[in-house]
């Protein structure tokens, strides 16, 4: 009757939450009939579970406020979209002016034979991780402005960031890992400009790839984590990289390896 694995703590929780297959439910039932300690434990878990549900029931029963109705949210989105069309037209002009200015400035600055934006001394790799973590936390929390240039202008994004980091940047394709590019932004880092590329997995879980211009030698992957956020950082082929997300270490490593494979080979090409 009681065949199979011995009953453990996980089984008691599974029993309380009614998540065990029928035969295992029956096995636990039989077990607690002869083990008063386990029976008391189960009863206590059940009471606690019920008490927590009761304590929150009033919130579930409340009428949903109008601002949380889906129809209202859709209307508001359309209204915002129409309003922002005007702004997009205006900002397009500013982008042109800015790009022209940046182009001229760059021509001026690189006219002498000095190499542009060489990271003066290779920054300690750990600094990249810290700055990437901070940037991840700031910009992934943004609902409306997560990126500066979005994926619809990917070509422009690549050219712009490559120009500012003074080396051809390649945007990794992480669709095999379940992430789609949202866009990117330029950031100040202690050693010069840095780029942040943001990806999304369709559920709002975001991943960022952080790049700085680094002329030091190649390093191996190093793991960094802070609370639920984890990632890997390394240096390779003229860039310092950090990839960060809320995923487990194995998935993050697979993502880091995918980036390494896509960016490290031969002479990188601008764009894709």
């Amino acid at each position: 009757m009681m065949g199979g694995m011995p009953i453990g703590d996980d089984d008691l929780h599974g029993y309380v939450d009614k998540r065990l297959p029928p035969e295992r439910m029956a096995a636990v039932e039989t077990y607690i009939a002869t083990h008063p300690d386990a029976a008391a434990q189960v009863l206590q878990y059940q009471e606690q579970r019920q008490a927590l549900r009761s304590a929150l029931q009033h919130k579930y029963d409340e009428p949903v406020p109008v601002r949380l109705r889906v129809a209202g949210i859709q209307t508001e989105r359309r209204r915002r979209w129409r309003r922002s069309l005007g702004r997009i037209a205006a900002s397009g002009l500013w982008l042109l002016i800015g790009a022209a200015g940046g182009w001229i400035a760059n021509e001026e600055l690189t006219a002498g034979r000095t190499a542009p934006v060489t990271a003066a001394s290779p920054s300690p790799v750990n600094e990249i991780a810290q700055e990437a973590l901070a940037a991840h936390r700031i910009y992934t929390a943004e609902v409306r402005h997560p990126v500066e240039v979005d994926v619809t202008q990917e070509k422009h994004l690549v050219e712009w960031l490559s120009k500012r980091l003074a080396r051809p940047l390649r945007v990794p394709d992480l669709s095999a890992q379940g992430y789609q590019l949202m866009g990117g932004r330029l950031l100040p880092a202690s050693a010069g400009p840095a780029a942040q590329l943001m990806y999304d997995d369709g559920t709002g879980r975001r991943l960022t790839v952080y790049l700085t211009a680094e002329d030091g030698g190649e390093t191996s992957f190093r793991y960094v984590h802070d609370k639920e956020l984890g990632g890997f950082y390394w240096r390779d082929a003229g860039f310092g990289y950090a990839v960060l997300g809320q995923a487990d270490r194995r998935d993050l490593l697979a993502t880091a390896e995918a980036i390494y494979r896509q960016t490290g080979d031969a002479m990188p090409v601008s764009g894709r």
């Binding site: 939450d17 009761s54 304590a55 029963d61 601002r67 889906v70 559920t203 709002g204 639920e228």
Partner: protein, 173 residues
């Protein structure tokens, strides 16, 4: 009503309950749910099949982690006294005191344990769904659940008197 609205709206009371249980402030919890719904509406077409409820909870949880953790880090968290005023339970209700004690004890658990306890014990999500929402393996969910239930019991029994104010101590880095 659109098909999207018909599929999303039945879950809004549960989303509000989860957000409230984690934040314990009515307005901030609804702000979080609103952000979640905006994101859900804008990404409806990117949804890869599957269960709408688990998908909505994943969005909500991710938003909570990225937005609310920052607030906590800045130190604008509440003390247990504040929590007491904010539990939103109508006074005079028969079990009001018991409910308030329960929510205070919940608030004293580490955030990651609160999430697991709520997703599984209150929202009736499976262990696998909870693992997907929080982004950790099922084994981690099981150990968090076990720790959460045992710690909650000790808190309610008053065994952890010296941890009476964990919300103020724990979150200062």
């Amino acid at each position: 009503m659109s098909e999207m609205a018909a599929l999303i709206e039945p879950h809004i009371p549960a989303l509000r309950r989860y957000a409230f249980a984690l934040i314990r402030d009515d307005a901030s919890a609804d702000d979080l749910v609103q952000d979640c719904l905006e994101r859900a509406v804008s990404r409806w077409r990117l949804r890869r099949g599957g269960d709408v409820r688990a998908w909505l909870f994943t969005i909500l949880h991710n938003l909570f982690v990225s937005q609310h953790r920052q607030t906590l880090r800045r130190g604008s968290h509440r003390t247990l006294e504040d929590v007491e005023h904010e539990t939103g339970i109508p006074s005079g209700q028969e079990h009001a005191v018991i409910h308030r004690d329960m929510l205070r004890a919940l608030a004293a658990l580490p955030e990651e344990q609160q999430s697991v306890l709520l997703l599984i014990g209150v929202e009736d999500l499976s262990y696998a769904e909870a693992a997907g929402i929080v982004g950790v393996p099922v084994g981690t969910i099981m150990s968090r659940l076990s720790r959460a239930r045992n710690r909650l019991r000790r808190l309610l029994d008053g065994d952890l008197k010296n941890e009476e104010r964990p919300t103020t101590l724990r979150r200062i880095k």
